[in-house]
């Protein structure tokens, strides 16, 4: 049971405040903080004590870490399983399309034989990986990890699974630079995938291609796809380039400006193929 006595509780005594000790300790704290700030004493102590404190901190956090890792493990497993199912579905659809393509290729061969149209599509390609899409002297440039020692030639066309990427402009021993199709100094002969409207597409430097002056009376419309026409003997015929996204009017009512968004953008892929066309 509590008894009445003021001696032991003099610091909680409402009548007397220990002013002098408080002031001394207050300034002592300030001096300690200033000294520590200058000499980094606490940092040094914590550094020395790290050898002891880090295993203890690790053990304290181990249950939480196990809980988090198990949770991540189950979530990741679920995501991966969903991804596997989606990939299997895509693989199945692609294998069906591949069968259709085989049929089309054999029909194409028969027709070419009967019409006596001979063209060698024997394309060999070197697979490469993009190291760096960058800008050099105001022009966008893509650097890849293949060069002279991989038999890459200047001027070769570069494609990926989405379509045309660009053209090789500089080669060193182990690296090459590609000018992307959206670069200002780039042009490629193209055709709409229905076989009509032969055009030349120019890069506009803004991530798009354009046809500056196109007859307004033409049948071109939004979402039409452009492919390479093969008329320059550089790019094989039929490689996807892009899709019409805008038809702008010009000063002349007889012409429109067509904007084409490419199917492949340099920042969205890393694998490409450099073509070596045998003529």
């Amino acid at each position: 049971m509590a008894k009445i006595n003021s001696r032991d509780l003099r610091l909680f005594n409402r009548n007397v405040f220990p002013l002098i000790p408080f002031v001394v300790l207050f300034f002592l704290c300030l001096v300690l903080m200033a000294t520590d700030y200058r000499k980094q004493i606490l940092k040094k102590i914590k550094k020395e004590a790290f050898v002891i404190s880090s295993p203890i901190t690790y053990l304290i956090n181990l249950p939480v870490k196990i809980f988090r890792d198990s949770k991540d493990n189950f979530i990741t497993k679920k995501i991966l399983q969903e991804k596997i199912i989606n990939l299997e579905q895509t693989n199945y659809e692609l294998s069906i399309k591949a069968q259709e393509n085989k049929l089309l290729a054999s029909e194409n061969k028969l027709l070419r034989n009967s019409l006596k149209i001979y063209k060698d599509f024997n394309m060999l390609g070197v697979h490469a990986e993009i190291i760096l899409p960058t800008v050099k002297n105001g022009h966008s440039v893509i650097t890849i990890n293949r060069g002279l020692k991989n038999n890459i030639e200047a001027g070769s066309a570069v494609i990926n699974n989405r379509g045309l990427v660009g053209q090789i402009i500089n080669i060193s021993k182990s690296y090459s630079e590609i000018r992307p199709i959206t670069s200002e100094s780039y042009a490629v002969p193209a055709i709409i995938d229905n076989g009509k409207e032969n055009v030349i597409l120019f890069g506009n430097g803004n991530g798009e291609l354009e046809i500056p002056l196109f007859p307004a009376s033409s049948s071109i419309k939004i979402n039409d796809n452009f492919v390479t026409s093969g008329t320059d003997n550089l790019y094989p015929k039929g490689i996807y380039i892009g899709r019409v996204t805008e038809i702008k009017t010009t000063n002349s009512p007889k012409f429109n400006s067509i904007i084409v968004t490419p199917f492949s953008q340099p920042t969205t892929f890393s694998q490409i193929t450099v073509l070596d066309i045998k003529k």
Binding site: M1, I4, L9, P21, L25, F26, Y37
Partner: protein
């Protein structure tokens, strides 16, 4: 004035030491549901405020300073920071009791809140983070959690030290 018995003082001391050790562990523990470290309550401030409100007899200015220096070794940014905070908490408590009569539970809660705000202000004033860019929501959550921790400690102390 009330004097506490030897048994009560001993219980207070033991409880304080046990809570202090537990809080050292808790302050190093990353709780799974609190991703932001700024939301963690300041356990040591909560403990000292609840000890002072509970009129723990073994505490004095010098012990508060030493406890502050020990806390600095674990969670402080500067040596002397928490010592300064703790002795200022005592000062604020003394002044409040000098000016006001605080008896009811709601008054004690208000005093608790005031002491917590005051100690946070000193903590931020002496912080090495010059840019106080912590969002207000996080500060509020930290403040509320500290008060809740302080109330929990007060209840624990009253429960374990009464005869």
């Amino acid at each position: 004035m009330i004097k506490k018995t030897t048994l009560e003082r001993r219980k207070e001391r033991y409880l304080f030491v046990v809570l202090f050790i537990i809080l050292i562990f808790l302050s190093n523990l990353g709780t799974p549901w609190i991703e932001e470290s700024n939301m963690m309550p300041n356990y040591f401030i909560a403990l000292i405020i609840s000890c002072i409100l509970n009129k723990n007899s073994f505490l004095n200015l010098y012990k508060l300073l030493i406890i502050g220096l020990i806390v600095d070794l674990f969670v402080g940014q500067l040596l002397g920071q928490y010592g300064l905070i703790f002795i200022n908490i005592y000062l604020a408590y003394f002044i409040c009791h000098k000016i006001l009569i605080i008896k009811a539970a709601i008054q004690l809660l208000a005093l608790n809140i005031f002491l917590t705000v005051y100690s946070f202000l000193i903590l931020w004033a002496t912080s090495l983070s010059y840019g106080l860019v912590i969002p207000f929501n996080l500060l509020l959550i930290q403040f509320i959690l500290t008060i809740i921790a302080s109330l929990i400690f007060t209840v624990l102390m009253k429960r374990f030290t009464k005869n």
